[in-house]
């Protein structure tokens, strides 16, 4: 196993891809559909050919990660999705959900290192003419934004005017611990992106902590785990005057955004901190039409943020 902890984005990805396969996420296309469109628009503005395909299904990892069912199905689903990408496009895949990232990386690793698992998965997908060979690489789009930081900076037309942004990294990307683009304990690459957009990154105390909803706890442990944890997190963001929080996982986005009124009803906060995907913020700064960014899906309104970047009412 490669024990290098931090790679530069150049070492991790290499040069900027001409084309990529964009792996759609369930929550990022249903609960917060602005996430998918924002990622797509940002990549297009960066001059990258973005491929999506309705033959792609759910990564199937989320509920396996809740221990809802054993891993065999997810191994075959992973093999099928990526055999499809290999066969049709022969392109590297980028996802925009930390959950997809951790599960797919995990199953890909299992398939690539355990010949029995690979053979079993392929035996299932062969019936549809697929054969997974693990030819292409797999990344999260946050790694690509970091690689293209200078290009993003050059594209900014709607600077954030000192907006105080608190980054939420989430767990699943950084918990890879080895071979990732920043230090897992003290990452700063999101903050570097915020600075490039003209915002002020805020290092709030609970910046590195979880959204609380992982592994299905949002379904079963709302009162005992999720809410007390979110209160700690959001309190610390509020103390530091965070005006907007960014995520790189639609699941985190849902937990951090949609639970705020519930916490307020219990007497916490009120926080009123809007939460959006990092791609939505990049999109906003580089001039993507706000209508396409889908902010209407958010529970906590973005009106104040939009006004600060010079977009008045009705945007």
């Amino acid at each position: 196993m490669n024990k290098t902890k931090v790679l530069t984005p150049q070492e991790r990805i290499g040069k900027k891809p001409d084309k990529l396969f964009l792996f759609r996420s369930c929550t990022g296309s249903i609960g917060y559909p602005g996430t998918e469109s924002a990622v797509r628009e940002v990549l297009i503005k960066l001059g990258i050919d973005v491929i999506t395909d309705p033959d792609q299904t759910c990564c199937s990892g989320a509920v396996a990660g809740y221990s809802g069912y054993p891993p065999e199905a997810s191994l075959a689903v992973t093999a099928r999705n990526f055999a499809m990408v290999e066969k049709k496009y022969d392109a590297d895949t980028y996802c925009f959900c930390n959950g997809c990232f951790v599960h797919i990386s995990h199953y890909m690793h299992d398939l690539q290192t355990d010949p029995d698992k690979m053979a079993n998965a392929n035996a299932i997908i062969n019936q549809w003419g697929y054969d997974y060979k693990a030819r292409n690489n797999f990344y999260h789009v946050q790694e690509l934004y970091y690689l293209l930081l200078d290009e993003i900076r050059a594209l900014v037309v709607r600077p954030l005017n000192g907006l105080r942004v608190g980054c939420h990294y989430g767990c699943a990307y950084l918990l890879k611990k080895y071979g990732i683009v920043d230090d897992h304990e003290l990452p700063t690459f999101h903050e570097q992106i915020i600075t490039a957009l003209g915002g002020v990154p805020v290092f709030y105390k609970e910046r590195r902590s979880c959204c609380g909803s992982g592994a299905g706890r949002g379904f079963t442990h709302k009162e005992s785990v999720v809410h007390p944890h979110l209160v700690r997190k959001l309190d610390s963001a509020k103390e530091e005057g965070v005006q907007l929080m960014t995520t790189v996982c639609p699941g985190c986005n849902m937990a951090l955004d949609a639970e705020q009124p519930v916490l307020a009803a219990q007497g916490y906060g009120p926080y009123d901190i809007p939460v959006i995907d990092l791609a939505q913020l990049i999109g906003l700064a580089i001039g993507v039409d706000p209508k396409i960014l889908g902010f209407t899906a958010n529970t906590v309104s973005l009106q104040g943020v939009l006004e600060q970047v010079g977009l008045g009412k009705g945007a």
Binding site: R24, C26, S29, I30, G31, P33, G34, E36, S37, P54, D55, Q56, T57, C58, S60, A62, V63, G65, Y66, S67, G68, Y69, P70, P71, E72, A73, A76, V77, R80, I124, I125, W128, C171, A172, L174, L175, K177, H184, E185, S209, C210, G212, S213, G214, A215, G216, R217, T220, H221, S224, V225, V226, P228, H229, R232, K291, I292, G294, T296, A297
Partner: protein, 197 residues
């Protein structure tokens, strides 16, 4: 305080629990407690102690582990693994423990709610599809943004997705998990001691 019996201990417990061989190196645990010190759930729930869970597994206490409510609190954030000096994947251990608990008839109520969405995903090829009212909201949101009202997945892909769940016996596995056959959870840690729930 519940009594522990000889039958509650099993020297081969760890080998049985790591069924998918996803942890591999639990025996290297130094019992340093960094996992517990860094854990956000332990910070709000002092009875939750990843280090103690590892200790009890290595000692072979089935009752303290599989019948306990504690293993269901973890949100799998991985902070324990990130700080662990010997790279023990406690998140993988939790996954294995939960499978083992379900096999022994405990904890169904913690997975059945999420599995409802999986049954639904057999019709759509994607997960977390909302009910009727939620669906109307999503379709309006997406239409206002100028994209197709619902994310498209081809009928072939949906059929193949479902076939994978059938052919790996996964659907049958999920159908067998029912909350009404669940055995009650017996034990929980409190300030380092075992107490009845």
């Amino acid at each position: 305080m519940s009594r522990e019996y000889d039958r509650d201990w099993d020297p081969d417990l760890y080998k049985k629990i790591d069924k998918y061989n996803s942890v591999k190196n639990l025996e290297q645990c130094l019992q340093c407690g960094k996992c517990t010190g860094n854990c956000p759930v332990a910070a709000i729930t002092p009875s939750y102690n990843p280090r103690a869970i590892i200790n009890d597994i290595l000692a072979g206490s089935t009752a303290r582990i599989l019948d306990s409510d504690e293993i269901w609190r973890c949100m799998k954030c991985g902070t324990c693994y990130r700080g662990c000096p010997v790279d023990i994947s406690f998140t993988s251990l939790i996954l294995e423990l939960r499978f083992a608990a379900l096999e022994s008839g405990h904890g169904q109520k913690y997975v059945v709610p999420a599995n409802k969405f999986v049954f639904r995903s057999m019709e759509y090829g994607i997960n977390f599809v909302p009910g009727k009212r939620g669906m109307e909201r999503v379709m309006k949101l997406r239409s206002d943004m100028g994209v197709e009202p619902f994310p498209k997945v081809t009928p072939e892909a949906i059929e193949q997705f479902k076939a994978i769940f059938e052919q790996t016996q996964t659907l049958r596995y999920m159908e067998k998990l029912k909350t009404d056959t669940e055995k009650p959870l017996r034990l929980s840690y409190a300030e380092g001691r075992i107490v009845n729930e």
